[in-house]
């Protein structure tokens, strides 16, 4: 039994009590609202049971934005606490919990869902396919990720949050030093979400290999497709390691085994190795798709073909190989031999080479281009210098001897925020502005977009630039407070002010989504950006079967060439065929629910109850096995009607908001 009943709900903290009430009211409000507006049926048939890659992508993005709010509030709380010396806003335990959940949520429930959401939406369209290879599996991936995220998020009101950092190093994360159930949430929730991610990886490897449209050879794929493909391979190669690591953590904490414990012959460094064997590739899992989006966005708005396409491909392949060979640089100071540290120093620095190639390729793509300064492009432009700061400080950290100075300071924290925010968040925002019209049929407002951009970029730099200097002055990370004599106060205060500007920038994005949903022009045509790849060759918003007839490709930037050479074929009515699509299914969301329940029981170490709940998982698998639903066909008349509507206005006299 892991917990006493009176500890079930976290009590005694006014902040948490307020959130408990807030969550209860929001839930009741949402349920009442859906019931009042009679939206249950719509929600169930159009979203919860969907297998359409576009809707799944949108649900991922929605989840990512919501989690961004949660993770962002965690970040603001940390900044509020450290703004002045000896602050009493958060106590040490609460601060530990907040930085742990901030890290986990931002990486696994913000960056990954937003990227996988965009991948889901865009990749099948870019390769001219009607869906991913395994649409039902795709839905399952989403619901497992969602289930894991929800399980992780309730930790701070029920049972207590994990508090051993997002890396959860042993022995701290073990039962001996973390006797509560908080870290069980970490082990179980990430396990469930990780299973979903692994399936996404498998799905996209097969989708890209098997479902490209006629003529699209590997070397004619858009760069976002390439990076998503390589990312999927890294997912398949690295997530099982995390699966094992988390399972062993669960065994240690729940069943008293000795993998990472001090006693019984366990080895705590084994956790650090396993964690980073997954954790470092994970960095590239989030950054590579982002690179791909930037490549497509830059070439669209520079109105040039991507410079150095082949070297881009070689670079991402090299990065993917090297990503598996650098994990020790996360613990240079933890007792490796000089030879080991040297080896991993060199592999780490080597990653700067392919990354540098990519940066120069982006710059050369822009050179002599007639650049359109849209919000999406602004994010891409801001990415380059900011990411280079992150990259260069990364090379500084890569030197093992020097790392003894930087290790565990705010310098490191500033470094990885300079990598992950310009390298992942900027591109995600760029991607949202860029593909939003394809998803919803209207554009995000460019004016509010500029506010979003400037507040966010300025806020980001004001927040994290001081942390480099604080770190060099010796401010350690994960410390909930500091004394006035350290002299950290002024820079910490600047950093805290920056975080408020950063939050205002994010709020501008949220407001933009609201404003644009209400007021934006719906008459934008299918190609508002004058773009280059196939997703822009079909209707806006995309009709549920994607393409009436699958496009044929002869060159890179296929759609661009079609437009330039006047090869946009009008749809020939007699060539339209019925389109076969998969049916909706309740199984994925059901699996998400039973995984969530079983996981929740396992968190509380009620193992027998968890095992009984797990029977529901196998029942779901059996249902799926006996499910011979063959999908449905979209009739010719429906296709002709849909196509007639959007093609009337397409490609001529299109309202273009930019040029």
């Amino acid at each position: 039994m892991g917990i006493k009943w009176d500890e079930f709900f976290v009590t005694g903290d006014p902040l948490i009590f307020a959130s408990q009430i807030g969550i209860a009211l929001t839930l009741i409000g949402a349920l009442a609202g859906i019931t009042y507006f009679k939206k249950w049926n719509y929600l169930w048939t159009e979203w919860l049971t969907t297998v359409d890659h576009k809707k799944i992508g949108i649900m991922y993005i929605l989840m990512g934005v919501l989690m961004f709010v949660r993770g962002g509030i965690d970040g603001l709380m940390m900044k509020g606490q450290t703004a002045v010396p000896e602050n009493g806003f958060l106590n040490a335990q609460h601060y530990n919990e907040v930085f742990t959940t901030h890290g986990v949520i931002m990486i696994l429930f913000v960056a990954m869902p937003l990227l996988i959401g965009l991948m889901n939406f865009v990749i099948p369209l870019q390769i001219g396919a009607r869906d991913v290879a395994f649409p039902q599996l795709n839905a399952l991936s989403f619901w497992l990720t969602f289930s894991g995220a929800m399980l992780f998020n309730i930790s701070f009101i029920i049972g207590g949050s994990p508090d051993a950092g997002w890396t959860s190093y042993f022995p701290l994360a073990g039962k001996e030093f973390s006797p509560g159930i908080g870290n069980n949430y970490y082990a179980v929730a990430l396990q469930i979400a990780g299973a979903g991610t692994l399936m996404t990886g498998i799905n996209f490897v097969v989708t890209v290999l098997k479902m490209r449209t006629k003529g699209m050879t590997l070397m004619k794929m858009p760069m976002f497709t390439w990076t998503s493909f390589i990312t999927s391979i890294i997912i398949v190669a690295s997530f099982p390691i995390f699966t094992v690591a988390l399972a062993l953590m669960t065994f240690d904490r729940t069943f008293g085994t000795h993998f990472f414990t001090i006693s019984g012959g366990g080895m705590d460094m084994l956790w650090a190795n396993l964690f980073w064997l997954w954790g470092h590739p994970e960095v590239y899992i989030v950054v590579l798709p982002a690179f791909g989006m930037l490549s497509d966005i830059i070439s669209t708005f520079a109105r040039k073909t991507l410079y150095g396409y082949k070297s881009m491909v070689i670079s991402i392949v090299m990065i993917s190989v090297l990503s598996m060979l650098v994990w020790v640089h996360h613990f240079f100071t933890m007792g490796n031999s000089a030879a080991v540290n040297s080896f991993f120093s060199i592999t780490t620095m080597a990653i700067a080479i392919p990354t540098g190639v990519k940066v120069f390729n982006w710059l050369f793509t822009m050179r002599k281009g007639r650049i359109k300064f849209t919000t999406a492009m602004l994010w891409a432009l801001a990415f380059v210098p900011n990411f280079v700061i992150g990259g260069v400080t990364g090379v500084m950290l890569a030197m093992a001897a020097a790392d003894y100075q930087y290790h565990n300071t705010l310098f490191l924290v500033a470094h990885f925020h300079y990598v992950l925010i310009p390298g992942v968040v900027f591109p995600i925002f760029a991607g949202l502005y860029f593909w939003w019209p394809k998803m919803f049929g209207y554009m995000l407002n460019e004016r509010i977009g500029k506010w979003n951009f400037w507040l966010f970029v300025v806020g980001f730099n004001v927040t994290f630039m001081p942390m480099f200097f604080l770190g060099l002055d010796g401010a350690v990370r994960r410390a909930y407070t500091y004394s006035a004599e350290t002299g950290f106060g002024p820079l910490m205060m600047i950093s805290a002010i920056g975080s408020i500007i950063l939050a205002a920038g994010f709020a501008a994005l949220v407001y933009n989504i609201y404003w644009s949903a209400r007021y934006a022009d719906r008459n934008i045509g299918n190609d508002p950006w004058d773009a280059r790849t196939l997703e822009w060759a079909t209707a806006t918003p995309v009709q549920h079967y994607n393409f009436a007839s699958l496009p044929e490709v002869t060159k890179l930037d296929a759609f661009w060439h079609m437009k330039k050479n006047d090869q946009l074929q009008p749809l020939k009515e007699d060539e339209v065929e019925e389109i076969h699509l998969p049916s909706n299914t309740w199984i994925p969301i059901y699996m998400g629910v039973v995984f969530g329940i079983s996981g929740f029981l396992l968190v509380f170490e009620w193992t027998i109850a968890a095992a009984i709940a797990a029977i529901g998982i196998f029942a779901g698998l059996a249902f799926r096995s006996f499910d011979y639903d063959e999908g449905f066909h979209v009739h010719k008349d429906e296709i002709l009607e849909t196509e007639g509507i959007w093609r009337k206005g397409a490609n001529k006299g299109v309202k273009n908001h930019v040029s």
Partner: protein, 201 residues
């Protein structure tokens, strides 16, 4: 998704969706290889950390392990014959060999459970030492895979009895075959690097 059938190919490869499913399963097996490789790595690191508890030599009974090994290896062989019969469109033969496969797999599981119970009676439990933790989790993961495989195959047998051999049922059986052979490969590594190496250590 495409319903186009290429009748020149074996049943399980005839539709595009089937070809994708089979490729997808190969990729999944790639992930499984990483999973087991990690577990072997963990065993490699912890396998000699006994914490005063029993060592490999103290507990392993090589005769029982040999019986387990021959049961599982034979089951892989009968699985192969089952797919061979499927290619000859002989449902009866296919199912017969599939049932043999499951019986052998069941025998293997029975022996493994017996082995575990024996160890626990000897005082060698998962909680005793790092060696035993990694031993039980590595073998337990393999055993769990075998158990799931048996349940899966029973569902397949029911479907084949209901529907006969179609591209879909043939593909499912073929994929199960891949899975079963894979478990055999993993066992060969367990037999070599856990049992044999443990006895010569």
């Amino acid at each position: 998704m495409s319903a186009k059938v290429n009748a020149a190919l074996p049943l399980e490869y005839q539709t595009e969706q089937n070809r994708m499913n089979i490729l997808g399963f190969w990729v999944f097996l790639g992930a499984e290889i990483v999973l087991f490789a990690t577990l072997f790595g963990v065993y490699g690191v912890l396998g000699e950390r006994y914490a005063g508890g029993p060592t490999q030599k103290d507990i392993f009974i090589i005769r029982d392990v040999l019986i387990q090994t021959s049961l599982l290896l034979t089951s892989s062989f009968t699985m192969g014959i089952s797919i061979f019969e499927m290619r000859r469109s002989n449902i009866k033969g296919m199912l017969m060999w599939l049932v043999f496969t499951l019986l052998l797999g069941g025998g293997f599981l029975f022996m493994e459970v017996r082995e575990f119970i024996h160890y626990v009676h000897e005082g060698a439990t998962m909680q005793t030492s790092a060696f035993l933790s990694s031993f039980f989790v590595l073998l337990g993961t393999h055993g769990l895979h075998v158990t799931i495989g048996i349940g899966w195959a029973i569902l397949l047998i029911i479907q084949i009895l209901q529907r006969g051999l179609t591209p879909v049922t043939a593909r499912k059986a073929f994929i199960f075959g891949l899975y079963w052979h894979f478990l055999d490969v993993v066992w060969i590594f367990i037999f070599t690097f856990v049992y044999l190496q443990g006895l010569v250590m």
